[in-house]
Amino acid sequence: MYNILSLVFKYVFIVIIYLFIFSIIKLIYLDIKGIRPISFDNSTYLKLINRKESLPFKIKEYYPLDDNIFLGRGNDNEIVIKDPYISKKHLRIVKDEDDYFLEDLKSANGTYVNGQRVMDVLKLNNGDRITVGQVEFIFVNRG
């Protein structure tokens, strides 16, 4: 009785092990694919102008942008910057067709593009300087 069981099981075990391996490989593959649109050489991103070391909070040099990005102090934003001068939900950048638009979400200290305060929605152009709180970015859009 046991022998029959063991015999049948041995084939099943092999099948399971390989299914397992393939599902992991598939996961990894999907993961890699998923990363690409947001990869380093993506054509649209925010680049930090300040010196990183001069800022008293954690910040990255590059923030890739996709269709809909929220920036703020809160953890639920795509871009989180713990700058006390930045509001919890400070601004939003959306992509419409091939253009990117910046919207200030009624932040306390405002958002400035090329020195001008953004009142509601503004179209972004390649090379625009965006200032929020103590942070200054340059908007890069090569594509």
Partner: protein, 409 residues
């Protein structure tokens, strides 16, 4: 985000099914001698594994595959060990459980505290302390001195030293600029490497010698700027290897047994030939759990568990195990490449290389592709020290898979 959740479910559930089936089979196998405790142990392990995988996928922002792969490996190992020896099986379940706990503990501790890269001196002194302790207190076991017994608990210091060494190298290269300024700073690491190898050689732990050398060389190759030095190192190591072969009989005999184990079949070649018999018995799908005779191999639960797997679960299962390790190593390397924090980058690299080289050496040894050395298969072989240190290393790797800050002080 939703997509991620669904995809992880498949391997997690497959693992669950696998373990349940195995438990059932083991229950049937031991039905005459079984007691309730085994079922409890078995179910507990399955529960722990399932829950851990579940928790990980929810909480941790880094890589989840690592733990999945490792638990599958551990499951395959545990099935085999349990089938061979009931008591060892239960002990192994306990080790795995403690290992998983240690994994989480390591993860949180390493993540929480900063400054790991500055503890070079501590890593170094701890390693040397352990080496010396082994020499003084150590017990010889099958030719190699690598066990210490303190108050009833025995463990292998080499397992701990492996991790310390990786952290040491990582901290060295992270703070390379500081070391460079010191006199001879450039050569610290190489000196330490030779020192460690020397200790291991005295202990007659040839397998560990191989591991440490490969580890040092690989990391040096990647990180040492003085290319000539790296090359010189390689040459010296090869040369001393050949020298060792010529001078020391215990090196020579390993080689001779490797080339023609049949000549020494009733002496030193007994183990490896029994291993080959087991492997050739199973065919591609194996004889079936409990239907083969892996117990003919002496000390099968430790180094030769792979042969047992090939005998009863088939060459395909053996290949599956190899593939799982390959994926694990690949994942570790990917993590390291993506990690911007230099210390954790090197640590991840070191750990991946460790897993890769160690498993390759022992797999190659038991199938007689390379000479046999007495080291364990991470996560699969029976043994507390090996299991715990592997899980600790995995914990560090898990931390390295997340986004960390680059600390400048």
């Amino acid at each position: 985000m939703l997509n991620k959740g669904i995809n992880y479910r498949l391997p997690r559930n497959l693992l669950f099914v696998f373990e349940m089936m195995a438990l059932f089979l083991m229950f049937m196998y031991y039905r005459s001698t079984l007691d309730k405790s085994t079922i409890i142990y078995g179910l507990s392990l399955i529960f722990i594994v399932y829950v851990s995988n579940l928790i990980l996928s929810k909480i941790v922002s880094g890589d989840n595959y690592l733990f999945l792969i490792v638990t599958m490996l551990a499951s395959i190992g545990i099935i085999m060990i349990y089938r061979i020896n009931h008591e060892q099986g239960i002990k192994q379940i306990i080790w795995i459980s403690i290992g998983i706990v240690l994994f989480f503990v390591t993860y949180f501790v390493v993540k929480r505290f900063k400054g790991w890269e500055n503890l070079f001196i501590y890593y170094l002194s701890a390693s040397i302390f352990l080496f010396v302790a082994t020499l003084i207190l150590g017990k010889r076991f099958r030719g190699a001195v690598n066990w210490i017994s303190i108050g009833g608990i025995s463990f292998q210091p080499t397992e701990i030293i492996k991790i310390l060494a990786i952290l040491m190298i990582a901290s060295y290269y992270t703070n390379y600029d500081k070391f460079k300024k010191k006199k001879w700073g450039n050569y610290y690491l190489i000196g330490i490497m030779y020192l460690f190898v020397f200790f291991l050689f005295i202990q007659r732990d040839l397998g560990s010698v191989l591991i440490f050398c490969s580890l040092f060389l690989a990391l040096q190759y990647i990180y040492n700027e003085n290319r000539k030095l790296v090359f010189a190192n390689l040459v010296v190591l090869i040369f001393s290897g050949l020298l060792g072969f010529a001078i020391f009989p215990h090196v020579k005999i390993r080689f001779e047994t490797w080339i023609n184990p049949w000549k020494y079949i009733d002496t030193i070649g007994y183990q490896i030939t029994q291993s080959l018999f087991a492997i050739s018995e199973g065919g591609f799908f194996g004889t079936g759990l409990g239907l083969g005779h892996p117990d003919f191999i002496p000390e099968v639960s430790k180094d030769f568990i792979f042969s047992a797997i090939c005998e009863e679960m088939g060459i395909l299962a053996g290949i599956g195990v190899i593939m799982l390790f390959m994926i694990l190593v690949y994942r570790g390397f990917k993590i390291s490449i993506n990690q911007k924090n230099k210390f954790f980058r090197i640590a991840a690299l070191g750990i991946s290389i460790l897993f890769g080289i160690q498993s390759f050496i022992i797999f190659g040894g038991v199938i007689n592709m390379i000479p046999l050395t007495g080291i364990t298969i991470p996560f699969v072989s029976y043994g507390g020290s090996s299991m715990l240190s592997s899980f600790i290393a995995l914990g560090i790797l898990q931390v390295a898979s997340e986004e960390l800050d680059i600390e400048e002080d």
